[in-house]
């Protein structure tokens, strides 16, 4: 007797096989449009919050950007305020900012004197490279261990996974970074402790801004090796901070999938356990995993501020820290907007991807 095909048992409503009848292209377009509108409104809200905070902080920008002798000279202070538009009422500053934003102009950084968009274009690839690798690392490890934990529920691998996820979620990222740096750089000397490359190396010609990619494109394998060596420690520490979340989500989603009628039917029909696990449990867990991966990416974008400081990474995180401590208003707002755009974009793509896996999402 031949084994039943997977498709022949995939008839339950729990099994994601395609969009429901009668809800084709127009439903999908509405879904995309809804997400886009929500993103724009969120972005608008972020600009208001950023400006609002700058009004509430009891510090004047010139205090942190001019020398104390210069502060005593009203002419110098006036020149500074005029240069950065700080002499205008806050509402006019805000409207001008919004106007500039529509043209991609994020204003001038008081700290660097450069357009904020230029600074961010310089620093974003460093951060994105770190976050992308960290997300991929936590995704691989979290999904693999999550599946194993679900498959071996209440046995030692499951308990171990629970401990790992608890530790990952509980330990603060900055503490992990300090301990990681002390252990692997200072004590063991296995990994470099700061920067993106050895100080004596020249960065590869810029194409993507990702040193690991650009060095390969330029055929500079020694630079590639150095870039990877510098990535391992900060990326691993970031990955650990979200590993627990992905692992727990994967485990519970796979367990949910394994509890469906379709799986019971598959088991009754004699499908091997590993096939049931991968084709039903894991497949049905795909949407939540994608969603949590997107959330994890956003979390890591924020967490890089600590990690970049400790590892002198030179990306957006360090730029954000400096802008905040020096009340560089244009930079703070610019970073908020760009991070929000990246986060919204990733979530938007995750929604689209998740809806491709599970059409029910479009209906929600």
């Amino acid at each position: 007797m031949s084994a039943p095909s997977v498709d022949s048992v995939g008839v339950s409503a729990d099994t994601p096989t395609g969009p429901p009848a009668g809800n084709g292209g127009s439903g999908y377009a509405r879904f995309v449009l809804r997400r886009l509108v929500a993103s724009v409104i969120t972005l608008f809200g972020i600009t208001i919050v950023s400006f609002g905070i700058s009004v509430l902080v009891p510090v004047r920008a010139e205090t942190v950007n001019l020398s104390q002798q210069a502060l005593a000279n009203p002419e110098v202070v006036a020149a500074f305020r005029a240069k950065f538009g700080l002499d205008l009422p806050i509402w006019e500053q805000y409207l001008r900012y919004l106007g500039g934003l529509l043209h991609g102009d994020l204003g001038l950084s008081q700290q660097t004197g450069n357009p904020v968009s230029t600074d961010l274009a310089n620093y974003a690839p460093a951060t994105l490279e770190l976050v992308v690798y960290a997300t991929l690392m936590s995704l691989v490890a979290g999904v693999v261990f999550g599946i194993i934990a679900a498959a071996m529920r209440n046995r030692w691998p499951d308990h171990l996974a629970r401990i790992v996820s608890l530790v990952g979620v509980s330990l603060p990222t900055y503490w992990l970074a300090l301990v990681g740096s002390t252990l692997f750089f200072r004590q063991l000397g296995w990994l470099p402790g700061s920067g993106r490359l050895d100080a004596t190396m020249m960065p590869p010609p810029r194409v993507t801004g990702f040193y690991t990619v650009d060095s390969l494109l330029a055929g500079q394998f020694d630079v590639f090796q150095s870039a990877v060596a510098h990535l391992v420690l900060p990326a691993s520490i970031l990955a650990i901070s979200t590993l627990g979340m992905i692992l727990r989500f994967t485990r519970s989603s796979v367990l949910d999938g394994l509890g469906t009628d379709a799986v019971k039917a598959a088991k009754v029909k004699g499908l091997p356990t590993h096939r049931v696990l991968m084709r039903y449990g894991v497949r049905m867990a795909s949407s939540p995993i994608i969603t949590v991966a997107a959330l994890s990416f956003g979390f890591l974008l924020a967490a890089t501020v600590y990690v970049e400081q400790i590892f002198s990474w030179g990306g957006m995180g360090q730029y954000a820290y400096r802008a905040s401590t020096n009340l560089d208003l244009s930079a703070i707002t610019g970073i908020s907007v760009v991070v929000a755009v990246i986060f919204l974009l990733v979530n938007f793509l995750a929604d689209l991807l998740a809806s491709a896996f599970d059409p029910r999402i479009r209906l929600q």
């Binding site: 395609g18 000279n73 920067g195 100080a199 690991t212 990877v228």
Partner: protein
């Protein structure tokens, strides 16, 4: 829609990336930390405070260090000698009345673009500094600059100004090649603050407008600044082919880097941390600070510190030796606002002596026992030789509690704390004053009615005799300067609402293969670093 491919693609990508990282990291693990022992490259670790490498706008420490490699001033400190020595000027002569200094330019001096350094360049550079209305523009207040001929420059003042040579050691007074800067949109005109457009020139690589041994290769205020040697340097060969200055915030990280050979100089390792370094491969040297850590006590009527008896009691009740211990090895007791390496300083033996019982009695007699005083300090400020202000503030709180005062700590970020201090809102505050040049003239801001005096509500009317002493000191000449500044300094000890705590020590940790020293202003001069 076929959903298998995206899922597999994502999974494959993730596995490939993770595997790549792990495999490559493992294979490169032992090579990484020891990266650098290229003798042609000097790596310096510093916690960056960088903002602009245009000399006429420089006031941050990192920029000042970088500028010493690219640009040159008329005079500079050589080694630890506090007397300004000729640099672009081959000689200088102070007039008898102290109102002008004539500089004779070195005729062999050239910029990296090959053009000679002329009087026009000097006038342009200093006038641009004045008219850009930037942070260091105040240095030119009351000064005029003329160039009688191509190789002579006269810097004059209406009043005697013996501090002019010291002032012209500041990197903000660096000389740039005028024609190239003008061509890039630069201006030294009165309206330069609005019209100058040369900022981009100074961050562009190898722009050629400096006369130092190095040129800028890259300027990233976030992570790394790189210099390359200037092959046309008029002073000979640069000691290094490249200098890489990295932004490393953590002192422990700096220590690990310099110990492992990944960097050759670490600039922000506090003395206490440096004590743990014991290897012949590294030199650990201490340098006196040009600034004093002090307490500012407002004279505003709403504060208990407005009572002179309370201020005297605070000065008497502080355990200075304990504070010196807390600040780390090499720290000195401060006897006045002028540090011991400048003229006019008060010998440490003459500093006020602690007498807790007397202080307690004074507080009691003043009816101030139990008075509450808010103590402001910057809880994130570590630039002063790595001293942790939190620890100093907590010690002061405990010491003043012993004489009957209740001190409430108000730790805030530097920006907030400084704003409160500038606005005159603090009752008790912990600060230091980093001078821009090595002359006590720079400290007259502490006088009554001056910049710092106003922050503690100490007006010129409160102490006209101290105002007069300050005026005398500023215009004194020759051998009269030292006693004049000493008299002013002593008057501040007696009357000013400050308590002088300590003079920290800056520590420089460097590879013994690198001849690095700090100058009298505790700055690193890149052009003076020689490869041993």
């Amino acid at each position: 829609m076929n959903t298998k491919h995206p899922r597999r693609a994502v999974a494959a990508l993730a596995v490939a990336a993770s595997g790549l990282l792990l495999v490559t990291a493992c294979s490169s693990g032992d090579a990484a930390p020891a990266a650098s022992s290229n003798p042609e490259v000097l790596v310096i670790d510093q916690s960056f405070t960088a903002q602009s490498i245009d000399p006429a706008t420089i006031f941050q420490v990192t920029d000042a260090i970088v500028a010493t490699g690219i640009y040159q001033t008329l005079v500079s400190y050589q080694g630890d000698d506090p007397t300004p020595q000729p640099l672009l000027a081959s000689a200088y002569d102070v007039s008898e009345d102290g109102r002008s200094v004539t500089f004779t330019l070195d005729e062999s001096a050239t910029f990296a673009n090959g053009k000679p350094v002329t009087g026009d360049d000097v006038v342009f550079s200093l006038e641009r500094l004045r008219n850009l209305k930037s942070s260091p523009s105040y240095l030119m207040d009351g000064l005029t600059v003329t160039a009688p001929d191509e190789h002579t420059v006269v810097v004059a003042s209406e009043n005697p100004a013996s501090y002019i040579p010291s002032l012209l050691t500041s990197t903000a007074t660096s000389i740039v090649e005028a024609d190239a800067v003008r061509a890039a949109g630069g201006s030294d005109a009165d309206d330069a603050a609005e019209t100058d457009g040369a900022a981009a020139l100074f961050t562009s690589a190898e722009n050629g407008v400096g006369s130092g041994p190095y040129q800028l290769e890259s300027y990233d205020t976030n992570s790394q600044i790189t210099l390359v040697s200037n092959p046309e340097w008029w002073g000979g060969d640069a000691a290094y082919e490249r200098i890489v200055i990295r932004n490393v915030k953590n002192p422990q990280q700096q220590k690990s880097n310099v110990e492992s050979g990944e960097s050759q100089i670490a600039l922000d390792i506090p003395g206490r941390v440096a004590e743990g370094i014991s290897t012949e491969a590294l030199d650990v040297n201490a340098y006196p600070s040009p600034e004093v850590l002090y307490l500012a006590m407002t004279m505003d009527a709403s504060s208990p510190t407005s009572d002179p008896a309370v201020r005297d009691a605070i000065r008497l009740g502080l355990d200075y030796d304990a504070l010196v211990q807390l600040a780390g090895p090499g720290t000195l007791r401060a006897a006045g606002i002028i540090p011991s390496n400048l003229i006019g300083s008060i010998p440490a033996d003459d500093a006020i002596q602690t007498d807790v019982e007397a202080a307690k009695q004074m507080i009691e007699d003043a009816g101030a026992t139990g008075s509450k005083i808010t103590f402001d300090y910057a809880n994130d400020y570590t630039r002063l030789a790595g001293i942790d202000y939190n620890i100093i503030a907590q010690a002061v709180q405990t010491q003043l509690a012993a004489i009957g005062l209740t001190v409430e700590l108000n730790p805030t970020p530097t920006s907030t704390s400084l704003q409160r201090y500038i606005d005159g809102e603090t009752q008790l505050a912990l600060w230091s004053w980093p001078p821009d040049y090595g002359d006590p003239d720079n400290l007259l801001v502490f006088g009554p009615g001056a910049l710092i005096g106003e922050r503690v509500q100490w007006t010129a009317d409160d102490a006209p005799d101290v105002v007069a002493l300050g005026d005398t000191a500023r215009t004194a000449l020759g051998d009269d300067r030292e006693p004049a500044y000493l008299a002013w300094n002593e008057a501040l000890v007696e009357q000013a609402p400050y308590a002088y705590l300590l003079e920290p020590t800056f520590t420089l940790v460097s590879s013994s293969a690198v001849g690095a020293k700090l100058d009298p202003m505790a700055n690193l001069n890149l052009s003076q670093i020689a490869a041993n």
